[in-house]
């Protein structure tokens, strides 16, 4: 995972509420055994028609959405299944941050482990972002702030450990492996 101090990008808005992980990554693609190349399946049933052609009315297919790295969605994004493929597919498609007023717990955790910044933002900023698709927004990960085009800043909650891992590009497994002596000592103490 590479280090990520901040993201500056145009946004693309999916206004629907309660977008679940089955929409982000439909189940029929779950028989894959790798982590790569899942962008093609992203929102497959909303983005593509039965013949596999792009639906012109889907926001991610709009010409102005090309290259957008920040996805803004309606209330409660990422509920349902624990499939990490949802985070992999968003990253593979080129999305580096998701902003909503509420993001489901397992998806939130999966996003952090893949360099995808999950931003739970206050209601007024969320409403502004929903109404202004295509705005150029900065996400300052190190400060946990969203910066709107007029310079307004809104902080968002991000665990200091998660922020540190994101900013430094550190992988949590490495951190846990360093704890192995403590883990094994703890196991020993428990069985005695």
């Amino acid at each position: 995972m590479s280090a990520m101090p901040s993201i500056v990008s145009r946004t693309v808005v999916l206004p629907a509420a309660n977008i679940d992980t089955d929409q982000i990554f439909p189940a029929r693609f779950l028989t894959a055994t790798g982590r790569e190349g899942h962008g093609d399946a992203l929102f497959a049933d909303w983005r593509l028609d039965a013949a596999g052609r792009q639906r012109p009315d889907f926001p991610l297919n709009a010409p102005e959405a090309r290259g957008a790295e920040i996805l803004v969605t309606g209330h409660n994004f990422g509920g349902g299944s624990s499939r990490e493929h949802a985070a992999w597919a968003l990253r593979d498609f080129g999305i580096r941050a998701v902003i909503s007023d509420s993001i489901a717990d397992i998806f939130f955790s999966n996003a952090l482990k893949n360099g995808l910044v999950p931003v739970r933002i206050d209601a007024p900023t969320h409403a502004w972002l929903l109404a202004n698709s295509g705005a150029v927004v900065e996400i300052d990960v190190a400060k946990s702030e969203v910066v709107l085009p007029d310079g307004r800043r809104s902080t968002f909650p991000l665990d200091p450990f998660a922020r540190y891992c994101l900013v430094q590009g550190i992988d949590e497994l490495g951190y846990l492996l360093e704890r192995l002596p403590e883990i094994e000592a703890w196991e020993g103490a428990r069985t005695r």
Partner: protein
Amino acid sequence: MFEKIWRAHEVVPETAEAPAVLYIDLHLTHEVTSPQAFTALRERGIRVLRPERTLATLDHATPTDSRQVFGGVPIRIESAARQIAELERNAADFGVELLGLRSGRRGIVHVIGPELGLTQPGMTIVCGDSHTSTHGAFGTLAFGIGTTEVGHVLATQCVLQRKPRILEIKIGGRLRAGITAKDLVLALIGRLGVAGGAGQVIEYRGEAISALSMDERMTVCNMSIEAGARAGMIAPDEVTFEYLRGRPHAPTGADWDRALEAWRELPGDADAVFDREFAFDAATVEPMISYGTNPGMVMPVGGRIPERDEESFLKALRYMGFEPGEAMAGKAVNVVFIGSCTNARLSDLRAAAAVMRGRRVAQGVRMLVVPGSQQVKQAAEAERLHEVFVAAGAEWRESGCSMCVGINGDTAGVGQYVVSTSNRNFEGRQGQGARTLLASPATAAAAAITGRVTDPREFAR
């Protein structure tokens, strides 16, 4: 109870700077969310730290067609066959026990854990599956994780976790005759909303919960995730202990007595403090059915679809082909699915069979009955329940997740209505364009007979 379990598993307590290192007693895994985790271990040259604490099974992408499981017919979906082969190889290479395709103990991961007595009070349990919340019915802290975390558990037997908040849901009163735990939990999610439990672990308490069997408690805890909660928990009691006694992995002899003593200490003090409380009356619950595209969009079978002028609500109804204000009873259905980790245990099959006995599946309706495990299947056959389903014209299949998630080829067609005992009615969940109506086994069975959404109490005998 939560606090006691959490503290007993903190290898490194959480601080402002870092989450807790939480020890995991039991890790369950399956073919769909594990391959990338094993690959990560292989790439880094890491072994599985405690292979005896991981159990693998095949359920999500696994066929439920007997010929593909036992008859030597190749697995129809090649990518599923490859995924199954990969878990077989990973289990062998890393020394993890796998209940393989033809094992008599194989089944849906959340059905077999309790059934084998692996799920025990006071444990921490994780699985790369959101419905891991099911195991909370035994007074365990059990939650779903992503594939990266599956790798963490394999490598270190631990996960990094912040302590969640606790939501106490106190359910008073008693369910009336003909009303099931599924109706109760659907009604509850309707009240809480699909994000109502976010960031929280639900602790269910109250007279209505104590009165439930273990199968019913599992149905309730299973769907905690559908309210957005990480986990659901119910304090263990005599019902829990009776369920566990004599199970293959349950302690025996003096170990059983010691375990029982520890388990009895688990329930919280009467004055435990919760972050949030919510009260609910079980006596008001009706047979429930979903009408929209998330499990919070539910209503009594005899009621009318609410009228709301909100784009996401209307979008859901357009997908379902319903209008605000319409009655649900009498709506035509195409497929009925009895199965899933929510409702495919023996008592669920008995409830469906009680409605079906001596009756036929309506003309043009396809009905699948998919036991939660091979042991459930065997037990149902010993009671000759399968004969009831087969005589009615239903398909009696091998165990697996099947049409709950539709990965293995068990899917419904575009626009078809499926009355399903599973847990999610998301768009396309049971096949591209398929429309799911979540309900109890009795309500599903009643729909199979009439070919329409029906109050199951019409068939009470």
